[in-house]
Point group: C2
Chain length 341, copies 2
């Protein structure tokens, strides 16, 4: 009362009918007489009444909320993804809860539990994953719990949780992207390609590295462990690690494949500072096709972020989707950071 929100009883009183009738009309269950219907709708209008979602949730109607959990919002790719998911969810008239895990297992689980407690209709897990046994085990248990309570789980841009059950998921082809990027370099005559992977033990890193190695094997590049290093996902460490390498002596590679564009940018700076030109001395390929890649003229692997997000949203919204697993393709965007050897 004190908060000025009318209750369903107020509406009923004003329309001169019972609470039941109001509820029925508002939910479209059971078609009552048009006359009553009008009276009620008018009263709703006049009072500016909106049903309380919490009360509604209590009687298991569904909460109209979709949850979204992401490690961190720190690059353009994730942002497009989140934006498009949010848009998709909003267009369906539902709300979107968002949580960040910071790549920390405990925090991720805490956030997930909290969302589950909220009785969200679905939980979308977005992005990279730390591939520890502990993570797998805990997530497996959590996923089971979700299923038991009828909460859908959607995996977006992320590997499956290995448990008997196949969760709905939308992925993109990490391995294929890395393969294509590596092939691109190989086809231009590069044999020794420095891999600037993501942190070791993260799903994305593993997959992309697999693609890289496979291309080298298939097409005859040098498969050398010394050529695989693992900076964090940011510009700074990309810069630092390449800098280190160059300080130690002349480069033993002619091409670089970075696992994201920020790292590629860092690497390019290090090259520049060492007096090496891109692409004349060293070629560089990035990953993600972040918006700034165009400014750097960076050749990179495009990932269809919006599409990914919209599909994830669709899966989350649909109680029983026809197609519950999709893998979207990636492709190389050729700009000017790769030279023919």
């Amino acid at each position: 009362m004190s908060d000025g929100r009318p209750s369903i009883r107020d509406v009923a009183a004003r329309a001169g009918v019972s609470v039941t009738t109001v509820s029925r009309i508002l939910n479209g269950s059971y078609p009552p007489a048009p006359k009553t219907r009008d009276k009620v709708l008018r009263a709703v209008q006049e009072l500016d009444y909106v049903a309380n979602p919490h009360a509604r949730a209590l009687t298991r109607q569904g909460t109209g909320t979709i949850a979204l959990v992401v490690m961190m919002l720190d690059d353009g790719f994730l942002m497009s993804l989140v934006e498009s998911i949010a848009t998709g969810v909003a267009e369906a008239g539902k709300l979107c809860l968002i949580g960040t895990s910071g790549g920390n297992l405990e925090r991720e689980l805490a956030v997930l539990r909290q969302m589950h407690a909220q009785h969200v209709e679905a939980i979308i897990l977005v992005g990279a994953v730390v591939e520890s046994d502990e993570y797998r085990e805990q997530m497996g248990a959590f996923a089971a719990q979700l299923r038991q309570s009828g909460t859908r789980l959607v995996l977006c841009a992320r590997p499956p949780i290995d448990t008997g059950f196949q969760d709905a998921s939308v992925e993109y082809d990490n391995e294929g992207g890395a393969y294509a990027a590596t092939s691109h370099l190989l086809s231009r005559g590069h044999r020794r390609i420095l891999l600037l992977g993501g942190p070791d033990g993260q799903s994305i890193t593993t997959r992309r590295t697999t693609g890289y190695r496979k291309a080298l094997r298939d097409l005859g590049g040098d498969l050398d462990p010394d050529l695989e290093i693992h900076p964090a996902w940011n510009r700074e460490t990309g810069y630092a690690r390449v800098r280190e390498l160059l300080d130690a002596g002349p480069p033993t590679f002619t091409g670089i494949l970075a696992h994201n564009d920020h790292v590629a940018a860092g690497a390019m700076q290090a090259l520049r500072e060492a007096g090496l030109r891109v692409p004349d001395d060293v070629s560089v390929v990035g990953f993600n096709n972040d918006s700034f890649a165009a400014d750097l003229q960076l050749t990179t692997v495009h990932i269809p972020a919006r599409e990914l997000g919209l599909r994830a949203a669709a899966l989350a919204l649909d109680p029983n989707p026809t197609e519950n697993h999709t893998t979207l393709g990636t492709h190389v965007i050729v700009r000017e950071t790769v030279a023919q050897l």
Copy 2:
């Protein structure tokens, strides 16, 4: 039951006490006998019980949810902002609802209403605003409604809503930033500075333009309406508008002040394509210090996004903050896109 979640009654039964007692213990309202307490806590553990937030919300306990509304998630600045708000909220153990308005008044209001209906504890409005009378009026009305129902409103990186009441807000110094950036160019001898503003009629545009003009007046630059143009916030239109200008004849300016880094990047591309070098022929200053600005060696205005976000979160979380209005400073990050004339 069917969803496997234990209720407070189950806990009570298992612990052999009444529901009331369980509730009291869980909420820490007055301390019951340690013995009972233990029994109850054990039962909670064993059943893995978590209170239903909806039922809780029904009795006006507050929902533990903060809402966040942003126009669009399309640049690094907004993203840092959202990330830091989300982090701040999560650290307080609360949940964060997110909605995007796409710069569309109707959709914005729809989202806001929906959030209000959820009884969120506070709503944070983030970022630029279309300055139409209609917007002002509708938002004013909405803000009044919020106040009446005890929902806090926090404005972040956004001008106040003009209504009698002063809402909590965290801003940064748009005018000062633009002033500083313009001064920087002026002090290097530039007199004719092309302003690449944001879309006309948006709050940010207005403020930054004011700073730009003031600097020109104070320090003796050319105040020429022809030098103020208004692309959208993205790279593409920044490119297109500058391209147009250059196609029409040699540049009538020696410096450019862009209202964000994407636009600056677009402008730089247009300059490059027209055979003009940055900074030798034309100097460029951006705004926001987006992460890629470092890669472009772009001189730009830094906005403390994280700080802004954390403060907004703090305001949203605190029912009665001591300081409810802050303006954070901005400063110019000097890189290599401005030359001495």
